[in-house]
């Protein structure tokens, strides 16, 4: 009943086929670029680049915009805060809050930044399966000497993919428990605190028990947490190197701007 694909959009575009490591690296670099960019010209370029990538991916722009809509409210608050709280030349003089030109500029930049960050991240998850992301992260972490901390990149990858797998059953449990408590006359509007307890306590209990069951099932199938091989071992293709090269050019372009 519950399927979690986050917001993956099935496709076979160049962006879908790229190695998850390439995409992860690109998202990180682009995020840093977005944060250090202080000019509207640079922002314009970043937006253009985003539109180009969206075009390549074949994902509809409206889909991406829709998935960042829930955070739109927060972004508006950030914008208003900057607009009214920055000192400088007033646009109009109002009694309590005075909007300033400096504020307008800062607010526009900041909200653009957040919006772009979210959009790039959404484009990444729209073109990469959660399991691929996990794979990519695992492979990137592998050279790190994590075993001195008592974990390996494989443990981390297993943990990540297990959590993702768990979400559907978690949601299903939540729905069942909610129904059960509603049947006992629970009324959220009446008492929110009690209502939350009535759902959260059994849900956490059930989840821990479920985790215990999964652990036992894994152990009885001889899971030892040692190095595991993957059926789809990642390997960088020519297109990956090309993509990284183009990305490097773009970064240089932005930096020299």
């Amino acid at each position: 009943m519950y399927e979690i694909t986050f917001n993956y959009v099935y496709g076979n575009s160049l962006l879908h086929r790229l190695d998850p490591r390439t995409k992860l690296g690109a998202v990180m670099c682009l995020s840093i670029l977005i944060f250090r960019e202080g000019s509207f010209a640079g922002m314009g370029l970043l937006i253009a680049f985003f539109l180009l990538l969206t075009g390549i991916s074949g994902v509809r722009l409206s889909f991406l915009l829709r998935s960042v809509r829930p955070l739109f409210f927060v972004i508006i608050i950030i914008f208003c805060f900057q607009l009214f709280e920055t000192k400088g030349t007033p646009i109009v003089t109002l009694p309590v809050f005075t909007p300033t030109y400096e504020g307008l500029r800062l607010g526009a930049l900041l909200s653009l930044r957040f919006e772009l960050l979210l959009l790039y991240a959404t484009l990444f998850t729209a073109s990469t399966l959660p399991s691929q992301i996990t794979n990519g992260i695992e492979r990137l972490l592998r050279p790190l000497p994590l075993r001195y901390l008592g974990v390996t990149s494989f443990d981390l990858a297993t943990m990540m993919s297990l959590s993702i797998r768990f979400l559907p059953s978690f949601l299903e449990n939540a729905a069942t428990i909610r129904s059960a408590q509603l049947a006992r006359g629970l009324d959220f509007r009446h008492d929110l605190r009690r209502g939350t307890t009535a759902i959260v306590v059994p849900l956490i209990r059930r989840s821990i028990l479920l985790a215990e069951e999964v652990t036992e099932a894994m152990e009885s199938r001889c899971y030892q947490g040692s190095r595991r091989t993957s059926i789809h071992e990642l390997s960088m293709q020519k297109s990956d190197w090309k993509a990284l090269f183009i990305l490097a050019l773009f970064i240089i372009l932005i930096l020299t701007l």
Binding site: N173, A180, Q181
Partner: protein, 287 residues
């Protein structure tokens, strides 16, 4: 009066493109009736019963309980519902609070609340001494009994149970079914979702069979057996096998007493004839 479902259709949100979970379902369960809803997993049984107390509301069609629309809060109190894995719904600090949760949500306080909790507890044969213990200190079976007590404390007019005997040991099953029979005698309507027709048929007055979101059969248990819906009980299989060997017995039987009466018809000459035939086949098979 009773639970009335008219042309009910329902699809889960975000799933509109797929087949609906319920398609044009109509049925009526009278007040005080003992009904069984059967069907394979995914047939829409659980979706259907969630409409009885308004946890789900119809996409199209209408569901009423004693003439009340299921959006009314009163329906939640009238229709007590025990879900699968009911042992997982407990959350309060003490068993007393756990059982009192339902009635107190409907504004019952003081002496009456206390009385209801004690009644419900004795109904499931648990000792009042445990009332101050944590529900998490109980065994799985006891937790389920507390959950049932929590519903009974609502004093519902209808009691709906989703797979109540799943995962119980045979002794607890018999006890639970006995309890259901007792409440039924007191005039409470019982609606049970079950795969295990063999154990539930002797109690049922009405059988509703579902397939892929539609009702494929409604009728008495006798009719249900005559029509030959699976799964058939061991008893029915025996009678059908005997009939195949030449006996002429009623096939709509599901209690041991009736079966005995019917089997006595075979005496004496027919019985010998058939048993020889059976022995013959057994011998042949052994060879």
């Amino acid at each position: 009066m009773g639970i009335k479902v008219e042309n009910l259709s329902y699809s889960y949100p975000g799933n509109q493109k797929r087949k609906p979970a319920l398609e044009n379902v109509s049925l009526e369960i009278a007040r005080g009736e003992f009904a069984v809803i059967s069907g394979t997993s995914g047939a829409g049984k659980s979706t259907l019963i969630k409409h009885f107390n308004g946890i789900l509301t119809p996409e199209s069609g209408r569901v009423t309980v004693d003439g009340l629309d299921t959006t009314s809060r009163e329906v939640r109190r009238k229709v007590g519902m025990l879900f699968q894995h009911s042992q997982d719904q407990l959350f309060e600090e003490t068993i007393y609070k756990e059982i009192a949760f339902g009635p107190s949500n409907f504004g019952i306080r003081g002496e009456e609340l206390k009385e209801r909790v004690h009644d419900a507890l004795s109904f499931v044969h648990l000792d009042t001494r445990i009332l101050n213990r944590s529900p998490f200190s109980l065994s799985g079976g006891e937790k389920r009994r507390v959950a049932l007590a929590g519903i009974m404390a609502l004093r519902p007019t209808y009691l709906v149970l989703d797979e109540p005997t799943a995962g119980l040991d045979p002794e607890s099953r018999t006890k639970l079914l006995g309890r259901l029979q007792n409440i039924h005698k007191k005039g409470v309507g019982i609606i049970v979702v079950s795969h295990n027709m063999e154990e539930i048929l002797p109690f049922a007055q009405k059988v509703i069979s579902m397939e892929e979101g539609k009702i494929v059969f409604t009728g008495s248990p006798e009719e249900y057996l005559r029509v030959g819906h699976s799964p058939v009980s061991l008893l029915t299989r025996l009678i059908k096998e005997l009939n195949r060997k030449g006996a002429n017995l009623r096939e709509d039987i599901f209690t041991a007493e009736e079966a005995l009466k019917e089997l006595q018809k075979l005496r004496p000459e027919k019985e010998r004839e058939i048993s020889e035939k059976i022995d013959g086949t057994v011998m042949q098979e052994n060879v």
